[in-house]
Amino acid sequence: MTKAILVIEDHEDNRRIIRDLLTSAGYEIIETKSAGEGVTAAEKHRPALILMDIQLPDFDGYEATRRIKANPSLCQIPIIAVTSYALSGDEVKAFEAGCDAYVTKPFSPRALLTKIREFLP
């Protein structure tokens, strides 16, 4: 299993930032722009970790997380939710959906990298 990280994020700049950050940190990344694509990609590539945006065009990140976690072969993959700002109450929902951790948007690339390294040392 490679140390590939699946990034499910619809916003281009965010994808680019994550890509630039993680590539420079030596991770391989798989990018998808929607929840549906993300779930498919997870099944197909079985990444080491998933960065899950919550606001996505087709269905939201919670639903995508539930689907992935519902799959026994995928349920071990840690999922870090990238939630909106604290007051939205997204974190609770994220944990309820099965996420293992969360970073709030706007994320600091440094903080994000720190969080990823907790799961992928």
């Binding site: 916003h11 700049d13 965010n14 950050l21 007051l87 109450g89 706007p106």
Partner: protein
């Protein structure tokens, strides 16, 4: 007054005649007794002297007659002489003696000689009934014998007594006669007339003013009777005057009663009107439902004006017609007909005319107005109509019309009353219009406010996305992800990042606040540990405090029970307060204290910072407030943190406040009910 107690007086009266006769008889009796006593006294004296005279005569007679016979001793003659003496019945004993030798002696039978010795000088009724006298009989200077004669007063006394009895008897007869006469006279001339007079007076006193007073006698009583009659006449006159006055008074009081009754009715009516007005104005002031108010007004208007039906019309300004708004006492057909006929200002109807003239208008009898333009009115039995215009600042609002089945003018008081009702109707309609306007405005404002909040929420979200990218790239550049960056550029980029973060915080706070204000923030109430929250927050700011060399410590007093509330929000509040304390304190220490008091957590954050002036303490929790406007720029922060904290605490049912002395630091405290089961509604 008429039943004077004269009848009671009568039996107590002492008859004048009796009193008069008693007095008279007393006086006369005394006089008679005195007279009789005097007569008897003189009579006794006379009798006494008579006896003495007769005794002296007898002695003298003896002295003259006896010397010779005695000298001659001719005792026959002496005896004859003694017999002759005894012809006087009073002489009871005669003795002629010489020395101790009795010459002759004669005793009347019944007289005892032995008693002679006891005969003492006496008077007729005192002492002995006997009187004696002795004398010497001389013949030529020679004593020849002694004669003793005893006389009895008996017969004389009898005679005297007889005289006294006679006098007494006469006195009694005289007294009786006088008594009888006096009684008769007083009765006849004084008592009876007086009694009659008294009866007349009593009758008069009893109110019989036509009593005939007997004034036939021409004496004082007759005079009295005349005066009594005059008095009766006067009283009669007075009585008739009194009666007249009384009748007048009664008449007057009857009139007064009528007046009072009329006035009472008027007052009752006024009270009724006032009550109706009171009820209406209360309705106007308490009910914004125009229908209720107008129904009340039209009902009272009809009832108080003694009419049978009424309508309040509202003036439709766009159509320029009167629309019937509220009716009372009208059939559905009538109302339907009324709706179809469109009345305008200036129409020849009472409503149109009153609107044009801006004055009340009435038709006392429709029979006299055959040209009345409302055709359906002819199918009804309404006879009299009255319309009062509803005006506000000279603009037509509508009209109040009452209809009556009895012909006749509506009085001024009714017209005035209906004008008052019309004024109330105007107020009610105006109030209702204003209320609707306000309601509409309120709704608009509410919608606008919601739009604002939603706009802000969306706006801040939209602002954040590009900012996110800016901050992300900046950080990557600073971290040399894209290659080495010269130190000068690095420094500038750090400033870019710092400002970007400030902007981000601002946007986040605005987002929070607008969410709270839009009512879109829902607390997620779960169990939490206050110790853990404080520890987490402490950990996250420890580095910041260390950077400024501030002494940061936490004091937990007692055991903090497990709480229930929104953990994240509570953490946000503590973070905000602690963040502020670190931000504004340059040196000294910051202390977080937590305890339980009155079923609530009490958390205080005390710093040794600049402190707050009193006005600032009051304003500090308002939006976009900091102690000093300039400090926002120097210290960073949005000025929304405390405002958001206050709202979060209040949503939990807690309270937040600050104690501070300028220059000596501040203590921000908040309470939080330990277990919050329900989110509080914010004011």
């Amino acid at each position: 007054m008429q039943n004077a107690p004269s009848s009671k007086i009568a039996p107590e009266v002492n008859s004048i005649s009796r009193r008069f006769s008693y007095t008279l008889i007393g006086v006369i009796t005394i006089l008679l007794i005195v007279f009789a006593a005097t007569v008897i006294f003189f009579d006794i004296n006379r009798i006494e002297s008579e006896i003495n005279r007769r005794l002296d005569n007898a002695i003298e007679f003896a002295q003259n007659s006896l010397p010779t016979p005695l000298w001659n001793l001719d005792y026959v003659v002496v005896n004859d002489f003694v017999d002759a003496l005894f012809l006087d019945e009073s002489i009871v004993y005669t003795k002629i003696s010489w020395e101790d030798k009795v010459i002759t002696e004669k005793v009347r039978p019944g007289f005892q000689v032995q008693k002679l010795e006891t005969i003492l000088p006496s008077t007729l009724f005192k002492g002995s009934i006997y009187i004696s006298k002795s004398s010497d009989i001389q013949f030529k200077e020679n004593k020849v014998s002694t004669i003793l004669i005893v006389m009895s007063r008996e017969s004389l006394r009898k005679k005297a007594l007889l005289q006294i009895y006679g006098i007494i008897a006469l006195s009694i007869i005289i007294i009786g006669a006088i008594w009888f006469t006096s009684i008769f006279i007083t009765k006849r001339y004084i008592s009876s007339p007086l009694l009659k007079l008294q009866e007349s007076a009593s009758s008069i006193a009893h109110g019989d003013l036509d009593t005939i007073v007997d004034k036939s006698s021409n004496d004082e009583i007759g005079l009295l009777a005349k005066h009594l009659d005059i008095m009766r006449g006067s009283i009669k006159g007075l009585f008739s005057k009194l009666k007249e006055s009384k009748e007048k008074l009664e008449e007057y009081s009857r009139t007064l009663e009528h007046k009072v009754e009329a006035r009472t009715r008027e007052l009752a009516r006024s009270v009724e009107e006032l009550e109706a007005l009171g009820e209406i104005s209360q309705t106007v002031n308490t009910t914004l439902d125009l229908e209720t108010v107008l129904t009340s007004i039209v009902r009272h208007a009809v009832q108080l004006s003694k009419a049978d039906a009424g309508t309040i019309y509202e003036f439709d300004e766009t159509e320029q017609v009167f629309v019937p708004r509220t009716n009372y006492g009208l059939s559905d057909e009538f109302i339907q007909a009324m709706r179809e006929s469109k009345q305008r200002v200036g129409d020849k109807t009472v409503l149109g005319q009153s609107a044009e003239k801006r004055l009340p208008e009435q038709i006392p009898d429709l029979v006299n107005a055959p040209d009345y333009p409302i055709s359906y009115m002819k199918q009804t039995d309404f006879r009299a109509l009255l319309a009062v215009p509803l005006l506000r600042k000279d603009r037509h609002i509508g009209g109040l019309v009452v209809r009556r089945k009895v012909a006749g003018e509506f009085t001024d008081s009714i017209v005035n009353l209906l004008q008052t009702f019309a004024a109330q109707s105007v107020i009610a309609i105006h109030n209702a219009r204003l209320f609707h306007e306000i309601e509409d405005k309120g709704r608009e404002i509410e919608i606008a406010n919601k739009h604002k909040s939603e706009f802000l929420a969306n706006m801040s979200h939209e602002l954040r996305t590009p900012l996110n990218a800016i901050l992300g790239y900046t950080e990557l550049i600073i971290d040399n992800i894209y290659g080495d960056v010269p130190e000068k550029i690095q420094e500038v980029l750090e400033r870019v990042e710092k400002n970007g973060r400030h902007l981000l915080n601002l946007i986040n706070d605005v987002l929070d606040l607008s969410k709270i204000e839009a009512g879109r923030l829902t607390l997620s109430l779960n169990e939490y540990s206050m110790d853990d929250i404080i520890q987490t927050v402490f950990t996250s700011v420890e580095a910041l405090a260390a950077e400024k060399n501030l002494d940061l410590n936490v004091k937990i007093r007692g055991v903090l029970n497990t709480g229930k509330g929104d953990e994240q929000r509570i953490a946000q509040v503590i973070l905000n307060l602690l963040g502020n304390a670190i931000k504004f304190t340059e040196q000294g220490k910051i202390e977080v204290e937590a305890t339980i008091s009155n079923e609530s957590f009490l958390v205080s954050i005390t710093d040794t910072g600049p402190g707050l002036s009193e006005p600032d303490q009051k304003r500090i929790f308002e939006e976009f407030r900091q102690a000093d406007g300039s400090s926002t720029r120097v210290k960073g922060g949005t000025g929304l943190g405390l405002s958001i904290s206050k709202k979060i605490v209040e949503m939990h049912g807690g309270r937040i406040w600050v104690d501070s002395n300028l220059g000596k630091g501040s203590t921000f405290s908040f309470t939080l009910p330990i277990r919050v089961e329900m989110q509080m509604e914010l004011k």
